[in-house]
Amino acid sequence: MNQDAKKMANSLYGRVNAPAVERCRVNFCTDLEKSVLMSNFERRAWNQVGPDDEWNFYWASTQTCRNLFSVESGYRMNDNQIINHFPNHYELSRKDLLVKNIKRYRKELEREGNPLAEKAEVVLHGGQVVTRYVHLDFVPVTFVLPADYNMFVEEYRKSPQSTWIMKPCGKSQGTGIFLINKLSKLKKWSREAKTPFHPQLTKESYVISRYIDNPLLIGGKKFDLRLYVLVTSFRPLKAYLFQLGFCRFCTVKYDTSVTELDNMYVHLTNVSVQKHGGDYNNIHGGKMTVQNLRLYLEGTQGRAVTEKLFAAMQWLIVHSLKAVSSVMANDRHCFECYGYDIIIDNQLKPWLVEVNASPSLTSTTVNDRILKYKLIDNMLSVVLPPDGVPDVRWNKIPSAEAMGNFDLLIDEELIEKEEPSGHSRALKTKYK
């Protein structure tokens, strides 16, 4: 933050620069005692308290957060309290709701006659022609089952040779996922799911998405990206992208043959899946940095396509956030760090697979630990005002130094004010 901004911030809060020792110590509470969190809190000399005590900073589970904000709890946060989730984060992080919100967002733009919602005809692998959004076609075609079953069948018939992926809406880490290449397999599944002993289980909904069967391969293996995105406000939207993401590789060569359809080591990139494979290496954990991916792509495929890919990923993130910004409970006490799962296809087009509201903070390797430690450290310095004490009255404009490895993706407030000064780290691309 520049000098003026600092002065302004100080006068806003009616504070003067207090020497470090006199500052009130931050009381934190956490539901998760992961070492990358605890060591960051310790380094800041924060004081751990229980959930019923006077906390300033709560690293909560999504459940705790929902409870705190529920009407029944009657809890009211004061100005010096912040928490790491938005109460209805599931608008973004549930697989079915994410798609629903994106579909609605595109329709709204279309109705407004916004050029972003432009559509065009594209030719699929199989030769058939379909209409797609030109700029907002970044999630694979998806339906919710059982609700949209008929719509799915209609789509399925258009290209019966394609593969689909079934995912339970409320699960994570690759559990319950399977691939489908025949309608009969889906029918069989729906019969089996309705077991007479557990009729309530049939209530569980699934999403079925077009399987990206042409992923970009490196060394013959499929991978996806895990990118971290920090949101400090949805209205106006303020979001930051962490530079240190990583690629998660499968341990087994990619193979589209039908016999490998059930081999999850070929198709699912989740570490939680891959680590059970015989070829899992726990020194590198199948993870390569996004910076090295970029180096490789620039070296082997050139600069223009690489830049385009990375710009398209930022675009995708910004619009996925815009798609939910109107429905999010934009509470001033909240911030959230999302784990974006993105697959790049062999045409270097990125596809959004899902968004996690509680990305894993478990460290699988030494480098993973360093990365996640930095993630938390940088995140804390972005969400906290310059004096380090949570305060919702702060203008949420971190200085370039405070951003660390975060790049500004979008700050609608700044765009509005057209005040790019003090934000040398802001990404060049403008999102309107």
């Binding site: 290496n281 070296g299 082997t300 390797t365």
Partner: protein, 516 residues
């Protein structure tokens, strides 16, 4: 005087002509000229002039110039090592390596070379693109030697020199009667760096001094694109001095090394593969083991594991490597191939490349995975790099770019420019070469992150020398010296130097060269 000069020129020209005739590219060059000569652009009445002009216009002249450039660059050093003691030492070292290979064979009850059974050939062929799934029991195989074994040999070298003084520690390379440059002399080798000219790799947002460019990087890309189109190797070399943008590196490196792929290259590469399939060399296991111990466990390289197996296996079969390096790499043994009928080809040089890998040898090839995904293209650039530079890092010689001179250079630079560190090392009784030797021997591969490493290797190509390696070692030590002063065991010094992931190579080197 004039006449003599002309004679010399003629002599050199005819010698070069002879050598070009012996090259693999000669045939295609010759037929290109023939085609041109018989075309209508070349006139009979002014044959010489019009042919020359046509060659220029068609890019053949550049091809010829590059051929000569590459020929001169790879000319092997015909004279034997002037210090006979080093020759003796390297001979003994070579014997030790051979002995250790042989005893490993005896222990494991296998042969250095044997025909590969049909079934195994088929399996290998089938898994050629995913050799990581080719199952081998390698538990009993050990690398023949590691950098620290080689260092022990080098350290005893000074003992071979008769005039070691009693009052000085024995480990100093300074006892060897070799000439190395001082920092001031190095400044003259790297004038662009020493003068503080703008270089790539300092700061991604560095502005350009040329109007019309948003940044230095944009300026370098635009210039580099033109250089690449021109394709004239000496110009490419000059360009690389200030660093290449990653998007042009693959092209520029292959141009400066003459490793652009031609049809004959692909055939030859296929032949190497065939040789791997047919003959089982004990070295194959060592290659598998080495990739497994290094790249497979490295988060920067594991995705390229399968590519590396292919490249390293083919390299071991490449007799052209040995031909080009015959005066620098000693005398590889000739062994009988078990299971083959006695005939002219039932014996083989072991291995045909003449190169026995050490622990970490694959790291000479790994960084190229960030430039080429085609195995053949990767192979030829790596091979050229090896023939020009890397072999000097693991063979004993008195060459000014050889590992012995580089160690000595490091030692001298440290003593002259970081005297307090030098004294500190003495006080804690650590030979300062020990803490940097593995960096030097692997040209920092596996130690620096790939983007930094590629910038460093740009400079090796640009200035056509390896002296940048000891200079970087010195610069890193200077940079971390406050931490080194705090510790007094080799383990702790190693710990201070273990993580180079935050090192910015170019600014550090430039700082070292600019300081006065």
């Amino acid at each position: 005087m004039e006449g003599r000069h002309e004679d010399d020129k003629k002599h050199t020209a005819s010698k070069l002509a002879e050598e070009i005739k012996a090259l693999a590219v000669y045939k295609s060059l010759y037929s290109d000229v023939q085609k041109l000569a018989s075309s209508s652009i070349v006139r009979k009445d002014d044959f010489r002039q019009t042919l020359h002009q046509a060659m220029k216009d068609q890019g053949l002249e550049t091809k010829f110039r590059n051929t000569i450039y590459h020929l001169v660059k790879t000319h092997s050093n015909k004279n034997k090592d002037p210090i006979s003691l080093l020759t003796k030492a390297s001979g003994q070292w070579e014997k030790r390596i051979h002995k250790s290979l042989n005893s490993m064979c005896t222990d494991l009850e296998t042969a250095l070379a044997k025909t590969r059974p049909q079934s195994e050939q088929e399996e290998l062929l089938e898994k050629w693109n995913e050799l990581s799934t080719y199952t081998l029991d390698l538990s009993k195989y050990r690398p023949v030697y590691a950098p620290k074994d080689f260092l022990e040999v080098l350290i005893t070298l000074s003992g071979y020199v008769p005039y070691t003084r009693e009052d000085e520690p024995k480990w100093e390379f300074a006892h060897l009667p070799l000439q190395v440059k001082t920092l001031d002399q190095l400044r003259k080798v790297f004038p662009e760096w020493a003068n503080g000219e703008p270089l790539l790799g300092v700061n991604p947002n560095m502005p350009s001094s040329v109007p019309g460019f948003a940044s230095l990087e944009a300026e370098r890309i635009s210039l580099g694109e033109r250089v690449a189109i021109l394709g004239y190797a000496p110009v490419v070399q000059e360009y690389l001095k200030k660093g290449s943008p990653q998007c042009l590196r693959a092209k520029l490196w292959s141009q400066v090394l003459g490793s652009d792929i031609q049809a004959s290259h692909l055939e030859y590469f296929a032949q190497l593969k065939k040789d791997v399939l047919e003959i089982d060399l004990m070295i194959d296991k060592l290659i598998f083991k080495d990739v497994q111990l290094t790249a497979s466990n490295d988060d920067q390289y594991f995705v390229f594991e399968d590519l590396l197996y292919q490249v390293m296996l083919c390299f071991s079969r490449d007799s052209e490597v040995m031909k080009k390096l015959k005066d620098s790499i000693g005398n590889p043994p000739t062994v009988t191939i078990k299971g083959k009928q006695t005939s002219a080809d039932s014996v083989t040089v072991f291995p045909p490349s003449g190169i026995i890998p050490f622990h970490g040898f694959s790291m000479y090839a790994t960084p190229f995975c960030y430039l080429y995904d085609d195995p053949a293209q990767l192979y030829y650039t790596f091979r050229s790099f090896y023939i020009r530079y890397w072999h000097r890092l693991h063979y004993i010689s008195t060459h000014s770019q050889g590992i012995v001179s580089l160690c000595l250079l490091y030692e001298r630079l440290l003593e002259a420019n970081e005297p307090l560190l030098w004294i500190h090392f003495r006080n804690i009784n650590i030979n300062p070469i020990r803490v940097v030797f593995k960096w030097l021997m692997r040209a920092f591969s596996g130690h620096l992150p790939p983007d930094q490493l590629l910038l460093l290797w740009d400079a090796i190509l640009g200035y056509d020398c390896l002296e940048i390696l000891p200079l970087l070692a010195l610069a890193i030590l200077s940079f971390r010296k406050e931490n080194i002063f705090q510790v007094n065991t080799i383990q702790n010094v190693d710990a201070v130097l273990a993580d180079l992931s935050t090192i910015s190579v170019i600014p550090l080197l430039q700082l070292a060269l600019m300081k006065s």
